[in-house]
Amino acid sequence: MKFGLFYELSVPRPWTRESERTVYENALEQVKLADELGFDQVWAVEHHFLEEYSHCPAPELFLTACAMVTTRIRVGFGIVVCVPQFNHPIKIAERTAVLDILSGGRVEVGTGRSATWTELAGFNADPDDTKKSWDEFVRCLPKMWTSDKYEFEGEFWSMPRRTILPKVYQRPHPPMWVAVTSPGTELDAADRGLGSLGLTFGQFAEQEKRIAEYRRRIQLCEPVGEFVNDQVSTVNFLYCHEDEATGLKTGRRMADYFNYLATQLISVRETYPSKSYPSLGLLPQLRRQATGPDSGEQAGEGLCLGGPERVTRALKRWESVGVDRVNFLVNTAEMIPQTEVLASLRLFGREVMPAFNGRKD
């Protein structure tokens, strides 16, 4: 099992001149430490207009900064929005290639389509079209990275024959992933030979079922890239403390507040009925976790909160249901002081990571 960090870069009100800078600087310090401790990846979201919840609209810049202060950790787009109003596919190919070169071949490319009215309407994008444009983009990207010259005519974008430069450093190209929030999207990933980049905190039994179906389906896939990225990644909270009760209490506050901020956003489905967004996705689950029967301090056995033994136990369970990678949110809106976040990472590196070394690479 591999471990990573996952960044939304949430910034609490009141916003001052320094508050956003502090969030970015703290995140970079955490990434630098994670690199030293042996974490495998750092991921950054692409979100726009999501007040407090995420001030991370340009993951390529944050990830470049990460790459420049580290030597080994991989840098992942978690995700790049594959909607033409947000990102032109040529720019995606170029930006990812440049970062792949600068990082020495450490890029991972997560893809997705946005799930909030706040963002889609902000870019004047039609929610009915996002799944289609995502599908078109993910089929083009590997060819744009690997072809000497490329031309394309599609529903959402076209280009005459050109040489797209530079080429990616990794051969044949960086691993590709799909953001999975709604049930069923993992099958879209499997059909295309893409990794499943889970962004939910689902229950073990449900995840086990979905992962098994993903594994079965990807055996029969027609990959959009040069290789099949048969990997399942999931996201989790991490707050590890010598004292179990302190770890649980502080970690739970972080998780609850993350959920609280997330539920302030306007999901597409709340305002815009569309078959393109058939489920409520992440938000209702977060609402349940923030207010439902699982919201107690002792609940949430799958969350990596508490002492090292409890965190190890939770991760063993995730490993047993088929998860290859776990990416951690380590703070929300700076509610945990930076020194404590770093201490949590060090404790995790010292007490938890050795239990997984060499198990699956």
């Binding site: 609490p12 009100r13 207009f49 999501l50 007040e51 407090e52 009215w117 706040t118 309407a121 959920n259 609280y260 901020l261 539920t263 302030q264 956003l265 306007i266 489905r269 709340e270 305002t271 815009y272 009925p273 569309s274 078959k275 058939p278 409520l280 977060l286 609402r287 923030a290 207010t291």
Partner: protein
């Protein structure tokens, strides 16, 4: 912490509906027809929103017009203007103003569910390319909305957000959650059109429409339910919610 509403409760308290009690019985209502139009609005609506609630990001309103073909007080129509918000983590539509088509409905909606409702005339019209609704009071059109070019969608694609009203309960102002069930038989989505909106007539002078979001029309079985939760309008719902049943 997300932003909160900034409503000065004292300014609206004298005009609040008075709830008879919290033992309101449910009204089951089959084959209701609903037209809903959602529209983004300009900043500045937080002064209309109780301090217990968070504004939506971005701020938006819904016009919800319902034809109830049968009820214990006979058939009636109800039009609502709702400022969309969050009660803690839950999306809710705070009812700024409402119009009902019969005196009996006005009385029942005020004293049973706390709707700030007044009497008016409400029209539903189905054209080949639109479903429209018009609300009139005192000889003036105060709302004219339409679902333009409706296309059939699955009932499951529709999500109606629960309402919250502000009313006097046992002498104190309370937010009252009104959370109907919906079994959708037919649904369509179209473009949102607002031909006329007299904001002041809906207790919403600060509301200025900016960007259309969506519009839908449906036929469904629904209810006006028993009251399950009330909330202190002045403090965050996380600490100010009381479960009635």
């Amino acid at each position: 912490m997300p932003l909160f509403g900034e409503l000065e409760l004292d300014a609206v308290a004298p005009a609040l509906p008075r709830l008879r009690d919290l033992d309101t019985e449910a009204w089951e209502i089959p084959k209701a027809e609903i037209v809903q139009v959602a529209y983004e609005v300009a900043d500045g609506t937080r002064t209309l929103l109780p301090r217990a609630l968070h504004p939506a990001i971005p701020e938006y309103v819904t016009f919800l017009v319902t034809r109830y073909p049968e009820s214990p007080v006979g058939p009636f129509d109800l039009a609502q203007l709702r400022l969309m918000a969050r009660a803690g983590v839950h999306p809710r539509g705070y009812v700024l103003g409402a119009v009902a088509s019969t005196d009996a409905a006005v009385a029942a909606l005020r004293e049973r569910w706390g709707y700030p409702v007044v009497r008016g005339e409400i029209a539903f019209r189905r054209y080949h390319d639109r479903v429209a609704s018009t609300v009139r009071r005192g000889g003036e059109t105060i709302l004219d909305i339409a679902v333009v070019d409706p296309e059939v969608i699955a009932g499951g694609d529709l999500q109606y957000i629960h309402a919250v009203t502000l009313a006097r309960v046992d002498g104190a102002a309370q937010l009252v959650q009104v959370d109907p069930h919906y079994t959708v038989h037919r649904a369509a989505r179209g473009r949102a059109q607002v031909g006329r909106f007299d904001a002041a007539a809906w207790n919403a002078a600060a509301v200025r429409l900016t960007t259309p979001i969506s519009a839908s029309a449906s036929t469904c079985d629904t209810d006006l339910p028993r009251i399950r939760f009330v909330m202190d309008p002045q403090i965050p719902v996380v600490s100010g919610t009381k479960k009635v049943r």
